[in-house]
Amino acid sequence: MKTASERILSAKSGRDARAGDVVVCEPDLVLGTDASAPMAIDYFERMGGERVRNPSRVLFALDHYAPPSTAKTAAFHDRVRRFAAHTGIELCEVGAGISHQIAVERRLARPGDLVIGADSHTVTIGAIGAFATGVGSSDIAAAMFTGKVWLRVPQTIQVTVTGERPPHVAAKDVALTLVAELGPEGANYHALEFHGEALGALSLDERLVIANLAVEAGAKAAIFPDESVDAGAGARHTRRMEIDLTRARPVVALPHAPDNVVPLERAAGTPIQMVFLGTCTGGRASDFRTALEVLERGGGRIAPGVQLVVTPASREVQLELLADGTLAKLTAMGAVITTPGCGACCGTSGMIPGDGMNVLSTANRNFKARMGNATASIYLASPEACAAAALSGRIPDPADL
C-alpha cells in the first residue's frame, strides 16, 4: 500500500512513484512571496521564459515586506506587480496576508493536490490533505517555465494521535513537543502523515499549527490525509510514532531554536518586554480570541514595559476580528495592530525588538537575529501563554493559566 505522499506524487508525475524515486511532477498550485518571487522572476528570465505556462495555478503574495519599510523593498513589490500583471498571475497585495494562509482560506488547494511554495512554511497547507512543500525561487521559476517541479519522493513517518488534551494545552504545545521529540532534522527528507482517533477533535486551525511547525523538524510535508489518499496503517511507513494528547503539557521553546523545548514552568518568571501575537502559526482568529479572553479575564491591563504586537495572518482574519470587536478591544488595551502578513516574525517588516529584549511569541522560529536584532532572545509559546505574559510581564506558570 502506498503512503499518501506516494499516492499524490504518483498522480502528479504519471508514474508509479515510490519513496526514494526522483520524479518530475505537475503542481496544482505554485506560491511565491515578495521575499522569493523577485528572485524567481530573475531565474525565469534567465531560463528564457516569456509566457508563464500555467498562470492560473500561480499566486504571488506580498507578505514578507508588508508594508515595505524601505524604498528597496517597495521596488521588489513593484517588480512583482509588473511581472504578475504582464503574465496574468494573480497578485495578493500588501495587507492581503500570508501566502499559505490565503491558499487555505480561499480553498485554492484541495485534498490530494500538490502545492509548492517558495516559503518553507508552505507545509502548513498539508493540514487540508494536500502534499505541500517549501522550495526555492528557482523551482518557482521552473514551474512557471515548464509547469513542472522535480521532487524526491519522501519516506513517511506515521504519527498516530490518541487521547484527549488537558485544559490549557494548545495545538502549539503539541506541535512544539513533536518538534522537540523529532529533533531539528528528525523528519528531514520525510513526510509526516497524521492518523488516529484523536484527530477528529482537532479543528482545522489546530491542524494548521501542527503542519506548520513540522518543518522545524525538517519535514518535507505534513499531511492530514483525507480518505482519498489515506492508506492508514497498511502503508509502508519508515517509522511510526505516537502523540498521546493526554500527556501533553504547556511548553515553551527557549532561545535560539524551536526544538529547544521545556515545560512552561521551567521558564516561568522570565521577564518579557515584547509579546508578539501573529504569524502563520499563531495569527488566526481563534488565536486572537483566545488571547483576548485571557487578557480580559486578567483585567485587560498590559504590564508596564511590555509591548503587545498583534498581526493578523490575513485580511480575512483581520475582518473577522474587526467584526467581532476583538481588534478594538486589543487596541484599547494598548496593543499595536500591524498590517496582515509575516509581520515581525523574520525581521523583514514591523516591530523589531530592542537590544537585549526578551520576546514571547506565537511564531514558529526563534533563531538568533530572527526578528532583526541578534541581541534579543525569542521564546515561543501558545497564544494563551503569550497573552498571560502580556499581563504580568513574565513567562507564566501553567498554574496561572
Binding site: M47, T70, S138, A141, G218, K220, T348, A369
Partner: protein, 167 residues
Amino acid sequence: MTTIQFTGRARRLGDDVNTDYIISSTRKRDTLDERELARYLLETVDPAFAASVRPGDILVAGRNFGCGSAMEVAATVILAAGIRAVVAASFARTFYRNAINNGLVPVECDTSEVRDGDCLVIRIGEEDAAVTNERTGHLTSALPLPTFVREILEAGGLVPFLRRGGW
C-alpha cells in the same frame, strides 16, 4: 557523465546552521545582489567570517546545514563568496535543492574530523563520492548523488539545464 572534483581549504562550521545565519533576512531586505550580500555571509555566526573567505574555500558543517527558511539567496550568497562546494554531515532539504539548482555542490559525509583550514579534495564519480583530508590522509566516503540531480549540477544549475531543453 564526468567526475566532479574540487580541492580547497575547509572552513569549519557547526550543527544546525540555518539560512538566517547564512544570510540574515534583514540584509536581504536591502538588496538581492549576491556579491553585495556576500560581505555579510554568516555574520550572525562570526562577523569576521566573510572577510576571511578566499575563493575556492569549502564550507564544512555538521548536521542539518541550511535548515529554516527556504530562501535561495542562502545558496547563491555562498557561491558569490567564491565557494563552490559545501560538505556537511547532513543538509536540510530546501537548502540541498537550492544548492543543486544553482550548481553549488552539496557533499554529504561524516565531517567530525575536519578542522578549520584543512585541505580537502572532493571527488564525485558516477557511482561513488569521497572526501580526502590531506592533513590526516583519511578518505571519507560520501553519499553519491542521484543521476537526476547530477544532470542538473553538471549543467551548472536549473537555468542552464532548462535552457538546454531539460524535462
